[in-house]
């Protein structure tokens, strides 16, 4: 059983996005965080102070732990932002303004 089978999902055609340059698949309607989870990725940010990895915590846009750079815009909440074909997701280092 997987979640798509569980919900009887017949998603529209998958499309390609990139994560740190590597191609991954996303399904229509999925957020950045959902596509990264589906691709087995759990962290996509390092903290400003200690450089520690972070990913989803609250999943509903409250905690800002899942901040990520999408199409060169840093500080996007991965759990809220829907993906479009060709989007370039990048791990956000610190504030995301240094790289």
């Amino acid at each position: 059983m997987n979640p798509l089978e569980w919900a009887g999902a017949r998603p529209g055609p998958a499309f390609a996005v990139t994560f740190d340059g590597r191609e991954i698949e996303a399904l229509p309607g999925q957020t950045v965080a959902a596509a990264l989870w589906a691709a087995g990725v759990r962290s996509w940010r390092t903290t400003r102070g200690e450089g520690r990895p972070r990913g989803v915590l609250c999943g509903i846009g409250v905690c800002f732990d899942c901040l990520v750079t999408v199409n060169d815009r840093p500080n996007q909440r991965a759990c809220l932002v829907p993906l479009r074909p060709g989007d370039a997701i990048r791990t956000q280092e610190g504030t995301g303004h240094h790289d």
């Binding site: 997987n2 979640p3 999902a9 229509p28 962290s43 990895p53 989803v56 999943g59 846009g61």
Partner: protein, 491 residues
């Protein structure tokens, strides 16, 4: 035809939807403003349309409720009585000389401003999950229980292969059974309270047969998926270098302390953890509404103490979706009457008032049972990060209290930066208050979300021209009492 009075409802979860339908039915024009792309809030969250889910995975009774609400919303939208603004993130609502202005930011980027003017405001802002810190809780793979559920419901994805669900509260049951049904291995459900205590207080429970049936369904689900349930246990540590690989759990004694010699390790790649919920009160506070403890104060009609402002659902105290529906209905009815210049007749909503009373008793009974371990703070080592945004440790918070004499959360914040980051203390507020030995109160945040400075500078420009000089002396409405370091700058 005279123009219908205009109500702005903020939040399209159970409370906001019930309020919207009741208000529209009883003569108001309603603008329903919500941050999500689809109505439903967290409780009725549906898979994204593009995923083509054909099998609804919500229990039958709540599915029927949702279908009724959605059909009602569609009907009033088609009739032109309700406008549903999706993807609108409200950051502030202010009282004007006549009526209110609601300020929102559009879309996930949240840069373009939108203003909605209305005669009244109904706050159905919901709540968010509380998580208390413990060593390792910042590791990727540690998510909130509600977050794991939201990602599953909305994106049809799992957080990992092997999950431990832990913390306290009635939410843990549907999260554990949902993750298991969708294909995760749930290695354990770790609950710090002992829900069997509910059986010893049967009255409020017996009065809620629907809740009883729900609990029985989840219990059956746990059995079916062979989920090991540990009551009066807690997670004491999460392990891993760059991601979670295991947790250590331990039994609790009757005082809520870890019992020596009971620690055991459970391998997992995901910990879904939650310690209850907290109301979103920022917009209410910005409007000057009275807040008791952490919840917005309302009267029997769901009115706040600010004329023209109602509140319903989790914002007025955590109580679940059924209670939110009843409160939303009452709030919508009251607003419909009052904004039309009439005195409402409460017998018109007697059924809703009856279920509200019963559900509040039930919630009070649950609150008496589900609680984090009394001595959770003992688990927070000096090296444990407490404020995740600003990376402030338990040791730093303790030092602010013991060495620097901080006696309240605000002073701890000024000394350590705990609560000053992106989330504005929503994730660490409870923990910082607990470590500092202060009672938990709703933090005062000038704005409900980060706001680009350009938007902030222009907000209400046109109003200021005609109203500023005639200001009615009402509260510090532009957040002028805010410290600059508490305001988020542009991203």
């Amino acid at each position: 035809m005279t123009e219908r009075p205009h109500l702005a409802v903020i939040g399209a979860g159970p409370a906001g939807l019930a309020a919207t339908l009741a208000a529209a039915r009883h003569g108001l024009r309603v603008t329903l403003i919500d941050a999500a792309p689809e109505a439903g809030g967290q409780f009725y969250r549906q898979p994204a349309a593009g995923l083509g889910a054909r099998r609804p995975r919500t229990p039958r009774h709540s599915r029927r409720g949702w279908e009724r609400l959605r059909a009602g919303l569609d009907r009033y939208v088609s009739a032109g009585h309700v406008t549903h603004l999706r993807d609108h993130h409200v950051w502030f609502a202010r009282r004007r000389r006549a009526g209110f202005t609601v300020h929102a930011l559009l879309g996930p980027e949240q840069e373009r401003p939108v203003e909605v003017r209305a005669d009244g405001v109904l706050l159905a802002t919901g709540g968010y999950e509380k998580v208390l810190p413990f060593p390792g809780w910042t590791l990727p793979g540690v998510v909130t229980a509600g977050g794991a559920q939201a990602m599953l419901k909305g994106g049809l994805v799992l957080p990992g292969r092997t999950v431990v669900v832990a913390g306290t509260g009635p939410l843990l049951l549907p999260v554990a059974t949902g993750l298991a049904a969708a294909g995760a291995r749930v290695a354990a459900l770790v609950e710090s309270a002992d829900p069997r205590a509910l059986v010893r207080r049967p009255a409020p429970l017996a009065a809620q047969p629907a809740k009883l049936a729900e609990a029985a369904r989840y219990a059956a689900g746990l059995l079916r998926h062979r989920v090991r349930t540990l009551v009066r246990h807690t997670v004491v540590e999460a392990h891993g270098d760059d991601r979670l690989t295991a947790v250590t759990v331990a039994a609790l004694d009757t005082d809520g302390r870890v019992r020596p010699g009971t620690r055991r390790r459970i391998d997992c790649d995901t910990l879904a953890v939650g310690h209850g919920m907290l109301p979103h009160t920022d917009l209410a506070q910005g409007l000057g509404c009275r807040v008791d403890g952490v919840a917005v104060h309302v009267d029997d009609e769901q009115r706040t103490d600010v004329p023209g402002v109602w509140a319903a659902g989790e914002a007025t105290g955590i109580g679940g979706a059924a209670l939110a529906l009843a409160e939303g209905h009452i709030a919508g009815r009251s607003a419909a009457a009052r904004l039309s210049g009439a005195v409402p007749e409460p017998h018109g909503w007697a059924a809703a008032a009856g279920s509200r009373a019963g559900l509040r008793r039930f919630t009070a009974a649950l609150d008496g049972i589900y609680a984090p371990p009394a001595h959770w703070a003992d688990l927070v080592t000096d090296g444990t990060v407490v404020c995740r945004c600003e990376e402030v440790t338990g040791g730093a918070v303790r030092q602010a209290v013991t060495d620097l004499g901080a006696g309240d959360v605000r002073t701890v914040k000024l000394l350590t930066r705990a609560g000053m980051g992106w989330c504005q203390g929503r994730m660490c507020g409870t923990a910082v208050a607990g470590l500092a030995g202060c009672p938990e109160t709703a933090a005062r945040r000038p704005f409900a979300r980060p706001v680009p400075l350009g938007v902030l500078a222009r907000a209400g420009e046109d109003e200021n021209e005609d109203e500023e000089r005639q200001a009615d002396g009402h509260d510090g409405r532009d957040g002028r009492d805010a410290h600059p370091d508490e305001q988020h700058d542009a991203r």
